[in-house]
Amino acid sequence: MNMRLSYGMGFILLVLPCSLLVAFTHYPALKALLNSFWNNGSSIRPSRFVGVKNYQTLLEDDKLMQVLINSFIYAIGTVPLAIALAIGMALLVNSKLPATGLMRLSFFLPTMLPMVAVANIWLFFYAPGIGLASQLLNAVGLPSINFLGSTNTSLASMMVVAVWKEAGLFMIFYLAALQSIPTNLKDAARLEGAGSVRIFFDVVLPLLRPTTIFVAVNALINAFRLVDHIVVMTRGGPNNSSSLLLYYIYEVTFGFRDFAYGATLTVLMVVILGILAAFQFWVLDRKAHYQ
């Protein structure tokens, strides 16, 4: 059954994926690392080697500190919320309620929209005074809230958008996982006298663990990777209250055109993501139950 590939053939098959990986992942990462030891040059001032000076700047950067705290809150807030919502929606559309097809479609719809479109829709929701959120608040006699214009609410508003956008996609994974759980396990539990809550927590949830790990990794990566809505809605403001690490990298690199410091920040981001990925795969993976 097993056909052995010749080494030559194996090599040829590996060339394409490897060259793509090298060209678009490894080379840029390495280049960023190298650039981070040079200062920023312009056409009239060529850049020169400065050692770890960029990393010293990094340690003294107040704004970076705030951005990291924002990113941390953003990840801690959006990942569990998106997962919980996804499981809830998956249970709902997996149930025997009527119109589950319509529900599936409407829960999945936000995922299909491009993030920029989503951001523009929410921009309108949030608009103080004229937006839907304001009008709902006014209808019940509450003053409208300046969601995007206040340092207290801007980050939370961004998190709501991200959860709304992402939960639908994760729901699909959970739905697939739910449908692959053999009914005899649930039947057996029911015979033993377990209620539906007990069945959910002791039978269904453990079996969903591989999905949860997969979804958590993806959600966490997205928490760092997706900043389109920040660009459209707040540009990191007001006073950097909604700025995330990747947006800050974009701002420094292309806004301020400080490619050296941008590279330094990129190295930081790669390190953070590397640590997170290692933790998730090596620590959580061992606790997962695969069939």
Binding site: S42, G141, L148, T151, P238
Partner: protein, 428 residues
Amino acid sequence: MKTRLKMAIPLVTGAAIALTAPAVQAADLEFYFPVGVNAPAVATIEKLTNAWAAQNPQHTVKAVYAGNYEETTTKALTAAQAGDPPQVAVLLAIDIFTLIEEDVILPISDIATSPEEKAWIGSFYDGFMVDTQFGGKTYSIPFQRSTPVFYYNKDAWRAAGLDPEVTPATWDEMVEMGKKLTVKDDNGNVTQWGTRIPNLGLAGAWLFGGLVKSKGDGLSTDTGTEARFDTEAAKASLDFMLRLAKEEVMAPGGITWGDTPKAFLEGQAASIWTSTGNLAFINENAEFDWGVGFLPGGDGPGAPVGGGNFYIFKDTTEEERAAALDFVKFMSTPENQAVWSMATGYVAPSAAAWETPEMQAYAKRLPQALVALDQMPHAYREFATFQRARVTQFLVDAIEGVITGGADPAAALAEAQDKADDVLGEYR
């Protein structure tokens, strides 16, 4: 192989003859432009570029809409560094220092050297020329220039018992009149604010420059190496913004640029401070009687100028430069300035444009358009230094910190000043 070479020789010689011929050479231009206002800008630009291409069939021009101002600058600089810049682009007037530092633009005064061309460069209003010049050279040509004005809802003025022909001239009058204009519902929630000054982001910093000007100071100087944040005028301007919120004339907290015309049209704000670039949009959509006045000022009138100019890029051939210059001249003829100004509301940057019959008729039809022109003598250049994006961000952070985060104005401005001095120190 040999036959191919033989065939190539006559082709090459033919091309060489064509190159030395004195006839006008064909050039393929790429033209980047941004859109920053609610107006049919893209269609108008395309109409104008097509007209130029029709007059110059030997050339082609590709107009590329490249996003907002920042995105367009980023794209043009990235393309220039990759060795393939657009030949011509409309970019922020205040990006001049960045473009010079990156060494990607050509001073237009270096290629426009004939007497007629010198007269052409001299034909624009001085107020729009200050930020085109550096080191004795003119680097750009004014095109989509704007300045903010005070738009107000005359119906709201009447409802508040105010004279609909009188706008507040001073900050005190703004507060006084604004208090009458703010309307609350039975629950005590505000349904109409007295005024609205965008204070977030770069647009907030732009308008802030006008407040500072009205207190007799400026945020930057002609050298590009000085930021003036920690001044009495800047402090007074921040205090005024805080006072507007405290006296319930303006919504507290951050106010975005983009929603401002909409808030005015929907009756959320009785008056707004926004660009003349929104004139056409408001004229088309307002369902009430509206007017335009000078921005209320601290010690006297004051406003920033803003907007974009034509730049010609350095990494281009002689033919492309000649064609690009011709294109820019075409776009800034009085007639075409008038077309552009009427379609968008941008202030036509030369007196000749305002004297065209079309523009005269337009001013009669929409007298609001003239207010910006009258306000021009009180306008000052927009904040511009080397490393502009970074240094402006210090100012933006200071304004936002005070308005939305309750920071102390004096401390916030002093901090911004320190950071700006750090960055600009090496350019002095």
